[in-house]
Subunit: 310 residues, 2 copies
């Protein structure tokens, strides 16, 4: 009796290793599932974020994983560990933020549990779906493709450093907002998938260098970044690094990084106009392996330095 | 574009309020999703459990929720917060325990994340499925039904107290094992559902009194427990309560509590024989509301006292 379905076919289409795992829902629909946990003092500090923004971000980082595959988000479960020091209005603000993000993308809370915890701990699992042939994985990039990114990579890392240094929202407001309250690119992801634009896609959660590495590895190609094309964040004076460093190695941007055939550029232009999104071509895909950064005549391998949480 | 499916029909069949939430997978299949989090010093203590058993339990408590609806478990995601004090062999033992439970029930780990955490924190989301018409909810109990339970309620609570009191495994081994390493009743749940035996079902995670209350409330009926029929755990001398108290108010047994028509008793007997399960009829369903306990001529309302974690 047990396992009668699995004797015929595994229910899992794709396991660990992409933004979401995939499972078969029906003949023409594929389910997506992703999970992300935020732990106080590992992923956020309560002195830097309001609870409403934290609620939004908790769901939005999961939504970003569904966006990265061109999926439609459906519903989510929540496990919440609450320290007794949290005021009831703070808990309410957290739920209001969650609900705000859920309403914006039409997803529903279907279950979960709440318990006491010495630190605030938020674990969300999000389920989405996609019509089978429109899903975009990390592995579809082909030599000759262009590499494109939405938004400005590194902005969130600049925002984090601004918070650490106690720099005012007035001076670094855009970067701080990018860090505390990122917007998942659900509509952009779905357009890029359904119009057949993106050949490979990932959300930029670990920094451009790492995320390019994943596309290169999964697709079995080399990714070449053109230094002068990469949009750079504005970095306040006295910060630890130059703008390019934040762009290459800063994480938690939750923008979309994708590859496309040059022939699909006109469709991409239409999508950008329609959604009012800023998309920049920052490189290209070649035969080979690894990630390189190119400036005029020089080309050097780019080693990921990853993104360090505080 | 966004929400195009949901304009026609919500993907969610049943939200918060049963052992699992339900969603539509295809015409004849329903998906089940459930999530449970275990936090160190809230749900377990590392000095009482080995990491292998903890890994098994983390998945098994989720499997129990699928069992309680008569579903087939498919795959799971894992979010793990690891304290730096944990040795690598302890982490390996935890994963081995997880894998042991997963293999026993044919479920696959499909994704998740791991991060640093001041305390060990394990959050699992499990997805299962069921053929649509065989699912058993909490709300199907009817006046005239019998009330049945697998195993011995309260055993896990006795085991927890034994651990708290430092009583040896030799003296309270069965109870300690019930607490540290419960077995989800997947096969039993599926037989009870597919053979049309159970009219309402729940897993006993919060204590018999609470779990009866949920069936009574969801079904709009009264549940009457017959005191002399309730199987009781063996309680070592000097423990805080008498055996009936543990049976009524102890939690975390992860057995199945269900209602059935008396006409289905012969089928239940076949299932018990086939699976070698101990099932006891402990009461009945009547018109009305609330939970009562009956002994000879007296009948008193039973107020849930819930299960206190340490």
């Amino acid at each position: 009796m047990r396992g009668s379905h699995r004797d015929v076919k595994s229910p899992v289409k794709l396991g660990i290793g992409d933004d979401c795992a995939l499972f078969y829902m029906s003949e023409d629909r594929v389910g997506l599932i992703t999970t992300d946990t935020l732990i106080e003092d590992t992923h956020f500090r309560l002195k830097w974020t309001d609870l409403f923004s934290l609620g939004r971000k908790s769901l939005n980082v999961n939504l970003s994983d569904v966006a990265a595959m061109g999926g439609l988000p459906l519903f989510y479960t929540l496990s919440l560990g609450l320290p007794s020091s949290l005021l009831s209005e703070e808990v309410e603000a957290f739920y209001a933020g969650l609900d705000d993000a859920a309403t914006a993308f039409g997803v529903q809370l279907v279950g979960g549990d709440t318990c006491n915890s010495p630190l605030l701990m938020i674990s969300i699992t999000l389920v989405g779906e996609s019509v089978k042939d429109t899903l975009v994985l990390r592995k579809g990039a082909k030599p000759g493709d262009l590499l494109a990114i939405s938004g400005v990579p590194g902005l969130s890392a600049v925002g984090l450093e601004a918070l650490e240094r106690g720099i005012s929202h007035k001076e670094a407001g855009e970067a701080i907002a990018a860090h505390l309250d990122p917007s998942p690119k659900i509509e952009l992801g779905r357009f890029l998938a359904e119009r057949g634009v993106a050949t490979a896609m990932i959300d930029t959660s670990d920094g451009l260098a790492w995320d390019c590495q994943k596309i290169a590895q999964e697709s079995g190609v080399a990714v070449v970044l053109e230094r002068k094309s990469i949009p750079l964040p504005i970095v306040p004076q006295d910060f630890a690094h130059d703008p390019l460093f934040y762009a290459l190695h800063g994480g938690e941007d939750y923008q979309l990084l994708f590859t496309l055939s040059p022939l699909r550029m006109p469709v991409l232009a239409q999508i950008c106009n329609r959604l009012n999104e800023r998309i920049t071509i920052i490189g290209r895909v070649e035969e080979g392996e690894g990630v390189f950064i190119e400036e005029e005549d020089s080309r050097v391998p780019l080693e990921p330095e990853g993104f360090k949480h505080f």
